[in-house]
Amino acid sequence: MLKKKVAMLLAAAMVAATVVGCGGGDDAKTDAPADDAQTEAPADDAADDAEAPADDAADDAEAPADDAADDAEAPADGAASGELIKVGVINNDPNESGYRTANDKDLQEMFCEANGYEADFQYSKKNDEQITFAQNMITKGIDYLLISAADTAGWDGVLQDAQAAGTQVILFDRVIDADESLYAASIVSDMEKEGQTAVDWLAEQGLDEYNIIHIQGQMGTAAQQGRTKALDEKVAAEDTWKLVVQQTGDWNADNAKQVVQSVIDSGEKFNVIYAENDDMAKGAVAALDAANISHGVDKDVIVMGFDCNKWALEELLAGNWNYDGQCNPFQASYIDEVIKSLEAGEEIAEKTIIMDEKGFDAKTITQEDVDNYGI
């Protein structure tokens, strides 16, 4: 019986934690900006290669890149005359989080026939499955391969195959450990910047003292690390900033509620809740409500969340919360732009493209913002 129990525990320990939250799981520290001269050359070659397949969709595999220059305008014509740009999209499971759902929806809307694309979407949260999908797509013959990798490692081989087959690779949402020459561009969020924006906003509020309940995301994820870093640094630097508690809520509303409940029960003072996603902010607010602690604009406790879920922005609009930091899932337009430039034979100035990410203040947010940025 003991054996069984021990085995049970082991089994419990082995159940891998599912990665959730915005861009979670990757170590998406932004790479050094790709402005050094060396990267331009491969980017050029890559751009040339890509045009060849585009001009003859039926025969793309064999099409040599020799006459690329002559056909520089071909893709544009092709799109207009119904010749579609073939893209393969490999994404994580859209059910993983609201962020991912919005991300997938955005991509689906962008890469459709109306916009001149023929897209093949494949989903997996497992790296090896994703790699298999990629390989199949390359074999089938596509112009662009868009990847949001489940894991950072193991992609070199596929990317080399892609290069050999003349397929351009664009990474989105998550970076991978591969040489920059192997992909055309990567479009990512800067989690540290998200944290910094939020902390800067909080500093602007000019409170006499900051007693912060810091509810972290799942430990070790990029989103958690990025959003925690700025706050940690600020607390270390300022005497008036204090963490009442710093605890993980595992992205989970329920856990966050318990953390805040625990602080309320112990009677400690606090005036800021810095939750690293909207769900946890919501859980925290539930605990505040149960104890009749006022929160929101010009109230006792400042509530901060991340991810810009629509319902969260509505809370902002109603003045119940104070701040929500965006984690931009809308990468499709960036990707579209990159593809358009490549098709036009232009070079991509910076390989790593960091998306604009806003922070919304309850005092200034508008219904339009909610509609545009809510996910």
């Binding site: 049970m8 059910n95 989970n252 329920d254 029960d265 409500d289 319902w311």
Partner: protein, 361 residues
């Protein structure tokens, strides 16, 4: 603890007590309580406050524990029966809660993710989610009973797929229900100062004890779990009984789904009731029930669930750092499980016997 008790005149009482199934969970609770009391006497303070809706409510750590432990206690009921009859555990519980919650919201929202008003009465939505959860339970049960798949493997299917199914039910939308009446189940009913989940859990516990008293559920599940051949030769149908326990588990899941959804009035498919199955299994083990099935003590399992919540709350209270939280919990769990292991229990028994001999001498 033990030494204090030894002074009692009746030694056989002690050895009986040590061997009693409730001994370990009670001991764990006492240790936790004493620990908290020493660290902060305010731990046990209960105050009357007000919530933002203007209701009088009780507040304090103990209330929080009773409140937050409700889901676990309810799931421990189902997990105990499943364990007893099938000699294995249902690890799909958390995913099934996501499904039940998703169904509930789908019915309440009527397919609209921001409904102005409820599309159906809560009771209707709840009943539908019960039916769905019980069907999924039956699916698990059939795999276990008729296809003879190891329970953990059989339920792994739903564990893996459940959250995606939950998301699919609502077209990947995250419905938010603003109607305050949904909030009653996870919060407070106006005018009642005690959190509703506590009442729901108490009701579930009362129902299961009535069922155990007025039906043969206990006898049948235990017989099947202890000796399936014998149960069969005594006219029982082990397969049907196993499936029934999984269906009951489904019912528990639906109730927990209601509470969970009510607590935040929305759902997050990937995090709702995450890892709760592990705590539920732990509650069963902590209650001194063999995870290999057979004889069970329902009260001990439920008690175990609250002990686990007590532990979680204690860890939060002591602000154990985020990185170390799982490690602390693991250590405590290992200690609890080891001392509830039969060999250690035997050793306990022998020690008390020695005390007895000494006193006689």
């Amino acid at each position: 603890m033990q030494k204090n008790e030894v002074k009692k005149p009746n030694e056989s009482m002690l050895s009986r007590m040590v061997r009693h199934q409730m001994f370990i969970p009670v001991l764990a609770l006492v240790i936790l309580a004493v620990f908290n009391l020493i660290a902060d006497p305010a731990f046990f303070k209960i105050t009357v406050g007000q919530n933002s809706a203007g209701n009088m409510v009780l507040q304090g750590f103990l209330i929080s524990i009773l409140n937050d432990g409700s889901e676990l206690a309810i799931l421990a009921i189902g997990m105990t029966l499943v364990t007893a009859a099938s000699g294995g555990q249902d690890i799909s519980v958390g995913a099934a809660v996501a499904i039940a919650g998703s169904v509930l919201l789908r019915i309440l929202g009527g397919g609209n993710s921001r409904p102005e008003e409820l599309a159906a009465p809560i009771i209707v939505a709840f009943l539908v989610s019960c039916v769905v959860a019980m069907l999924f339970g039956a699916f698990n049960g059939v795999l276990v009973a008729y296809f003879k798949i190891q329970p953990m493997i059989a339920t792994l299917i739903l564990y893996t797929a459940g959250r995606s199914i939950a998301a699919w039910i609502n077209n990947n939308e995250l419905p938010v229900i603003t109607d305050p009446s949904l909030g009653y189940f996870g919060g407070y009913i106006p005018g009642v100062p005690i959190p509703t989940p506590f009442f729901i859990a108490a009701l579930c516990v009362a129902i299961i004890f009535l069922v155990l008293k007025f039906t043969n559920l206990g006898l049948y599940t235990q017989s099947v779990g202890i000796n399936e051949n014998s149960a069969k030769l005594n006219g029982l149908n082990p397969q049907v009984i196993k499936v029934i326990t999984y269906v009951i588990m489904g019912l528990c899941v639906a109730v927990v789904g209601l509470i969970k959804v009510s607590r935040i009035q929305t759902i997050n498919y990937s995090t709702i009731a995450k890892d709760i199955e592990m705590d539920a299994i732990l509650a069963v083990a902590l209650g001194g029930n063999a995870l290999s099935g057979g004889k069970f003590n329902m009260a001990a399992s439920i008690f175990g669930a609250y002990v686990i919540q007590f532990l979680t709350s204690t860890l939060y209270k002591f602000k154990v750092s985020s990185d170390a939280l799982p490690a602390y919990k693991a250590v405590v769990v290992i200690i609890l499980v080891v001392i509830s292991a039969p060999t250690v229990k035997e050793w306990f028994g022998n020690v008390t016997k020695k005390f007895k001999v000494k006193e006689v001498a």
